[in-house]
Assembly symmetry: C2
Homo-oligomer: 284 residues x 2
């Protein structure tokens, strides 16, 4: 017998992983959540039929969503994380002793429960005393905050289903208000390559630009995401991710990472012309 | 009816493209050559069941294999290209009026014939008067040359089948001899992500290092190659791809590109830690 997981990266493009076993399949109030085990990628989590993380390459996503803002401003103390139910973002943030408080808002408790049971590689940091876990709608939560956070990380699913609200102008404007004067917003920014993802990327970029004076995009190689070419958005009130990068301070922390380093931090903001063109179209 | 092309990116990982029509299928003396048409990628060429180029993203590969060395040394005049039967590398090189001579050595004339018939997007530069086309074994051809070229581009298939000789120590040592004192060698360097590709990458890196004092690796997003995370090797006798990069000279040429720019030139040499570790293992 052979069991294959297949995902449509685009209408006419499929990515398939040979599966040893389906470990879990749950329909929550919000979405369908599955965990599979495989030889190539280890265990992997899918939500509504899209790969969220695999044990093999989750380090890439989590390194790049966390260490880029943390190296730009080493004085980040208060962090809000929205989404991130697998726990990987919390795990990486927990490595900074300088962080005083992490509020994490995940709409779907079932994701956290499933990851605690099946994906301990990422779901290992929820008990950290700095972490306050809220099972609420991130959109509503952030509305109640003002001038409070140094960093907001939006570690969401794609802008379909429960993740949709996290790509709206309303949400970004509330993030702006919830951030203090040093505030940085990092979000997963979809991909430039297949047209449906590129549309979502342009829309997010356009909306974030309405509110933040500094608004850049950086890229990363994530082989299990559509096209493998993934983007993050870096928006902020005053910190520039390149000119304000404090390389020495970050390197002195001696945080061991498998993907991130301060050279790739700088390198990842250099984008191909076709991606720059797509972003420029969005800025019009 | 649905027709799907499927490639194994690793033993347990498949990448599939919905095909409108198979345009051509030939068994040459060396390999099996197919051309398909598809909605997402346009026409695409496969050799022995591996995607070589697609009309949608060939610009990425050809931009990065050609413009990186050309921007590093704007005085490149004599170029040897090995492999590259689809014509894309020649097409990009032909945009430099400073180049005086391009010798291209492709072992399999059938690849060129097929591309001339079905892939005019890349196979449009063979008639350029600067191009001398040899249908020979690149390994043997390069042995006969000494102190002749400013640049050798090895645009080969993977190191299985006819491409195998182009990944040997013998070949690299002959490339070294065929290059003059300004010589640069760029080769497609496989991928770090799936283990079979990573093995080939490490082997190539180890062998090139035996001969060239400067030996670096740069990365690129090519969604239709295994993992989408692809590498090129940059080896040279004296030019460093970062410190010798002549940004102003290249930008003054006003060559319009869809992927390459001098920022991504620099950024692409910043590698993730896990890739640096693999290369360091090879250097031992």
């Amino acid at each position: 017998m052979e069991l294959w997981y297949t995902e449509e990266h685009a209408k006419d493009v499929r990515f398939s992983i040979k599966v040893d076993k389906q470990l879990c399949s749950v329909q929550s109030d919000f979405q369908r959540i599955d965990v599979f085990d495989s030889k190539e990628f280890g265990r992997f989590l899918t939500i509504d039929g899209l790969v969220m993380i695999t044990e093999k390459d989750e380090f890439i996503y989590h390194d790049m969503i966390v260490h880029v803002p943390m190296a730009t401003n080493p004085n980040i103390k208060k962090v809000l994380v929205i989404g991130a139910g697998d726990g990987g973002t919390i795990r990486e943030l927990s490595r900074y002793s300088t962080i005083e408080k992490i509020d994490m808002v995940e709409i779907d408790k079932v994701v956290v429960d499933v990851c605690k049971e099946y994906l301990q590689q990422t779901a290992c940091g929820f008990d950290n005393e700095k972490v306050n876990l809220y099972f609420e709608d991130g959109l509503k939560f952030v509305k109640t905050k003002e001038n409070e956070y140094d960093l907001i990380i939006v570690d969401s699913t794609d802008p379909i289903g429960p993740g949709e609200g996290l790509f709206t102008s309303d949400f970004y404007s509330n993030c702006y208000r919830a951030l203090n004067e040093n505030g940085i917003l990092v979000n997963q920014h979809e991909s430039p390559y297949y047209s449906e993802y590129a549309k979502a990327m342009k829309r997010a970029h356009k909306r974030i630009e309405e509110f933040f004076p500094i608004c850049k995009v950086y890229q990363v190689h994530i082989p299990t995401y559509a096209s493998g070419h993934w983007l993050f958005g870096f928006a902020s009130k005053k910190f520039d991710p390149i000119s304000d990068l404090n390389e020495e301070a970050w390197n002195n922390l001696k945080i061991k990472t498998k993907y991130y380093n301060t050279d790739i931090h700088k390198g990842s903001f250099a984008l191909p012309n076709y991606v720059k063109d797509l972003l420029a179209e969005a800025e019009k």
